[in-house]
């Protein structure tokens, strides 16, 4: 027992514990509000974090569950997500070390744990939904969220006075409830200082960990796996253990009804990295999956384009120096360098290469294709030349089919799960009745649907489109040659196409309008739009994002020419 204060009444130091876990003075039987700290390591297993519950008394009411804090909830989310990633093939280090440490650091930085006195957390005991005012904590009681173990004593000591002042602002009239102890507080916190954790941000954290380990998974892959259901995100509350009851404001925190957006997850990741004061991430070198040379190879295969194009993507990468480790590696907090979206970058490089070789002005590429077609008809030896037209037909067909499937899936998506949610015990019966009706109706119309829904999720795969050379219908273009569109000049292979058109003559100021360029389908050739559409589908992002990146690459590539020739020529001679 380390409680050494003097009793307020008799000034003795002679303490005992009541049944309710409170200290009482043995001399004068004065009962205090100070409670004994109890260690509870129930549901968080993988870390050495320990929580403290307020009093033993509360745990007797087993049907009402136990107390839990919001950050514990997020910890569970991260744990499950990491496990899912491990099942997808990510190395166990991610879960056991990296993510874990990031999370701890986050808790520390946001002063939710690992420090002596987390800031401003006086907790009102509105822990269970329908409990009558069991408020037995007075404003002066210090926060009970102490985390033992390795406390890097960075937290500054806050006096009881500050607690009192902050707590008194919160009146007794907070009748909003939450299953978690600090649900209502959590939502009231000032966001800017602390970078409040949200569900989309858990994905940012995961991605950050993946990036640290340089795992072969891009952000678009990660988000796609989330949507396909391989990584728990939506309706996560199903995974909460029985004891952790979710209701009221918790739903605002943990229940999401929208899919995460690439840009937002990425942005938050950068913010997080800076917030956590992380050092420079491990270098992305040319043997990494995320390096543009590697990713280009992957995307070329997926897009069913000839392998020979890879030389060209490497040339572009080299020329504009985007293959350098310094360019590719994330340095948190460094605002001067533009941060790299590896997947978008690789896709944009391919688009630029296609423009270099085929021009993509809705004329030239078809012309080249006709020449190649002629040659292929007359000359069967030496393998086929790549015909843009054939490729276009094959890809368009597949893309349309896949896009249609995707759109229908999105329309048919079921957002709710069997476990129902209620805001309060008051509407519990109403919610359950509604749920029952929904299930009945779904059964009725489900039977009339005819087709049986496939019960399993699609097997997770890194490749969405695959093409095989063994296929006899000649739909695979990997091995096709680019000879028809190349020529030799002074010992170097160059494109026959002498022209190039820039997507934009001048880049926008990102800070002002949020974009580097503004993409409108009608302003550009249809072939260009088609290529954007293809990668837009593969990466599940808007075509404009890829277009922005294309603009940036072009400006780097033609930097010298742009400085020389200002206004008129948007078509450049290479």
């Amino acid at each position: 027992r380390d409680f050494n204060e003097r009793c307020a009444q008799c000034s003795e130091v002679n303490w005992g514990l009541t049944d309710g876990g409170r200290f009482y003075c043995r001399s004068c039987h004065n009962v205090t509000e100070r409670t004994r700290e109890v260690v509870n390591t129930d549901f968080i297993s993988n870390t050495r974090v320990q929580t403290i519950s307020k009093s033993l008394r509360k745990q007797e009411k087993t049907d009402k569950g136990c107390e839990w804090y919001v950050c514990e909830g997020f910890q569970l989310v991260l744990k499950k997500q990491a496990e899912a990633l491990e099942a997808l093939g990510v190395c166990p280090q991610m879960k056991d070390e990296i993510l874990c440490n990031f999370w701890r650091r986050y808790l520390q930085k946001s002063k939710q744990a690992y420090c002596n006195r987390p800031a401003g957390e006086t907790v009102k005991a509105l822990s269970v939904c329908d409990s009558s005012t069991d408020v037995d904590s007075e404003p002066e009681t210090p926060s009970l969220l102490h985390f033992l173990s390795l406390s890097e004593s960075e937290g500054d000591l806050q006096t009881d006075c500050s607690f009192a002042s902050s707590a008194s602002k919160m009146s007794e009239s907070t009748s909003v409830c939450s299953g978690s102890v600090d649900g209502s507080l959590y939502l009231m916190k000032n966001q800017k200082e602390k970078l409040r954790m949200t569900m989309p941000m858990t994905l940012s954290l995961c991605y950050m960990a993946l990036l640290w380990l340089r795992e072969p998974m891009t952000l678009s892959d990660l988000l796609r796996f989330v949507v396909e259901g391989h990584i728990p995100y939506l309706n996560f509350f199903q995974h909460f253990p029985e004891k952790m009851k979710l209701c009221g404001l918790d739903l605002k925190i943990f229940y999401v009804e929208s899919w995460p957006v690439y840009e937002e997850v990425y942005k938050k990741m950068l913010e997080l990295a800076a917030f956590l004061d992380l050092p420079r991430f491990p270098d992305i070198t040319d043997s990494c999956f995320l390096h543009p040379d590697m990713l280009c190879m992957k995307y070329l295969m997926e897009a069913n384009l000839p392998d020979e194009l890879h030389t060209w993507t490497c040339r572009v990468v080299k020329k504009i120096c985007i293959g350098e480790a310094d360019f590719l590696t994330l340095v948190p907090g460094n605002k001067s360098t533009r941060n790299v979206k590896y997947d978008v970058l690789a896709a944009a490089v391919i688009v630029v290469v296609l423009k270099l070789l085929f021009l993509l002005d809705d004329h030239y590429e078809w012309l080249l294709s006709d020449f190649a077609g002629e040659r292929n008809k007359n000359n069967k030896e030496g393998g086929p030349y790549f015909e843009f037209k054939k490729w276009y037909k094959v890809i368009k067909c597949s893309l349309d089919v896949e896009q249609k499937k995707l759109d229908e899936e999105r329309a048919k998506y079921l957002w709710r799960c069997e476990k129902p949610l209620f805001y309060s015990a008051k509407n519990k019966s109403k919610v359950l009745k509604r749920r029952q009706m929904v299930v009945n109706l779904q059964n009725q119309f489900g039977k009339l649907s005819g087709s049986v829904r496939p019960a399993e999720k699609p097997h997770p795969s890194s490749f969405q489109l695959s093409w095989s050379e063994e296929n006899t219908d000649g739909n695979c273009f990997h091995g096709h040659s680019l000879k028809g569109i190349l020529q030799e000049k002074r010992g170097l292979l160059t494109a026959m196409n002498p022209d190039y058109w820039l997507c934009t003559v001048k880049l926008c100021n990102e800070k002002e309008c949020g974009h580097l360029a503004h993409y409108r389908e009608v302003d550009f050739p249809q072939s260009y739009h088609f290529v954007l559409r293809l990668f837009s589908f593969l990466l599940r992002i808007q075509p404009s994002s890829i277009h922005d990146e294309v603009c940036v690459i072009e400006h780097k590539l033609f930097n010298k020419k742009l400085c020389k020739k200002p206004r008129y020529n948007t078509v450049l001679r290479k």
Partner: protein, 412 residues
């Protein structure tokens, strides 16, 4: 298709709904059911601010699908509707009413009656008062079904009467149905609206039991009360009633006059013109001409032999009497620019002759008078008729030739 990547619940359901609508328009009921299964989730979300919430959408779409889907049965439909009734208390009576219609369309009259009775006994706080209109409709339709029962019993009695049987119980039941029906039907027709069916049935009841005064009053109210929306049928019913009871020509004519004003193309215009032609009063005869010309302005009357014969008769009379040629001139004035192409083209002449000889006869007479003997229509028809050696056509030709100067006076 939308490549919207920022996908949330609400957007997803909007897209889902558009897929449902698309499938329904293409009559792909299985597909519509498939997407509706996903849409149903919306019930768990609060859309109270929307104009039409998911519960109403699901009710209407679900009904459509169950009506058309090959595998759905009445039983399934009923179970679905019962669930819909519990979904929206503000819509309860409306759903009951539509359910009733559906049952009636499927010939389940008894079930429909039961449904209506149940709905009639529904009470739900202030909602009962708010849904007062629907309640009145429910009572009215129950009255209608009572009328239907009454009618069946009446027919049974009439049959037995012929056979010499007397059936007291049927008679008593018949009277009781009458009472129930009368009460409800009387109520609904008090409210301004279009209640053709109810009015007809109620009048039928009243006539059977000999309460002609009440019947007449009801019909008058229905036709002339300005609070009621303008309804040509109201005048038609009144006219038919008056005719049945041998009312004076004067009252018949005044009823039909209003009908002519509202619907100049009504089929009763022939009766009207016939009555007016016979009248001794000049004004009435003048009106008659106006009426028949007006009717023939409409495309639906182009091949109506009776109408043409009315016009022909009247025109002939006027021409022979040589009085009131100015009437024809007045009527023809606004029509001479377009009636020739509309009625009297050479193409029509050929077609009319081929398809309907009587029609061409009447039309030819009119054409001959209005356009003269040299007009395309008359020339063709009279030529054909004379070629076929039909006596009346020869007479016609002579008549028109004789009165050709009339045409000059008319067309001037």
């Amino acid at each position: 298709s939308s490549h919207e990547h920022k996908l949330n619940f609400k957007k997803s359901k909007e897209v889902c709904l558009s897929y449902i609508q698309d499938a329904m328009l293409r009559k792909q009921w299985k597909r519509a059911a498939e997407f509706l299964t996903s849409y149903i989730e919306s019930l768990e979300k609060d859309f109270s601010r929307e104009y039409m919430g998911p519960s109403e959408i699901i009710w209407r779409i679900g009904t459509e699908i169950l009506c058309h889907h090959s595998h759905s049965s009445m039983k399934e439909f009923n179970s679905f509707i019962e669930q819909m009734k519990t979904l929206g208390v503000k819509r309860y009576l409306k759903v009951c009413l539509e359910h009733t219609f559906h049952l009636l369309c499927n010939g389940l009259v008894d079930e429909a009656y039961e449904n209506l009775s149940l709905a009639e006994s529904w009470r739900f706080g202030e909602q009962t008062a708010i849904q007062d209109k629907e309640m009145k409709l429910i009572q009215a339709y129950r009255g209608l079904l009572d009328y239907y029962s009454w009618s069946k019993q009446k027919n049974i009695l009439l049959e037995h009467g012929q056979d010499g049987f007397e059936d007291l119980s049927v008679e008593q039941e018949m009277h009781s149905c009458f009472r129930k029906a009368a009460v409800n039907l009387k109520e609904i027709i008090k409210i301004p609206g279009v209640w053709d069916l109810f009015v007809k049935c109620y009048v039928d009841l009243l006539e059977f039991y000999g309460d002609h005064n009440e019947a007449r009053q009801v019909l008058n109210e229905y036709a002339y009360n300005s609070k009621f929306p303008a309804n040509p049928n109201a005048h038609v019913y009144l006219y038919q009633f008056l005719k049945r009871h041998g009312e004076s020509k004067k009252s018949l004519i005044s009823t039909l006059k209003i009908l002519h004003d509202i619907v100049p193309s009504h089929e009763l215009m022939i009766d009207f013109n016939t009555m007016l032609q016979k009248s001794k009063k000049r004004k009435k005869r003048r009106l008659g001409l106006e009426v028949i010309f007006a009717a023939l302005d409409y495309a639906g009357w182009k091949e109506n032999v009776k109408a043409w014969s009315c016009l022909a008769r009247q025109v002939k009379k006027i021409v022979i009497s040589e009085k009131h040629l100015d009437w024809i001139k007045q009527e023809w004035n606004s029509r001479k620019d377009w009636w020739p192409t509309f009625h009297f083209s050479r193409y029509l002449a050929k077609r009319n002759w081929q398809e309907n000889e009587s029609l061409s006869y009447e039309k030819a007479l009119v054409a001959g008078i209005l356009l003269g003997k040299d007009c395309k229509y008359f020339k063709y028809i009279s030529h054909q008729g004379c070629k076929a050696q039909m006596k009346r056509f020869r007479i016609l030709k002579k008549f028109v030739n004789k009165h050709n100067p009339v045409y000059l006076r008319i067309s001037g």
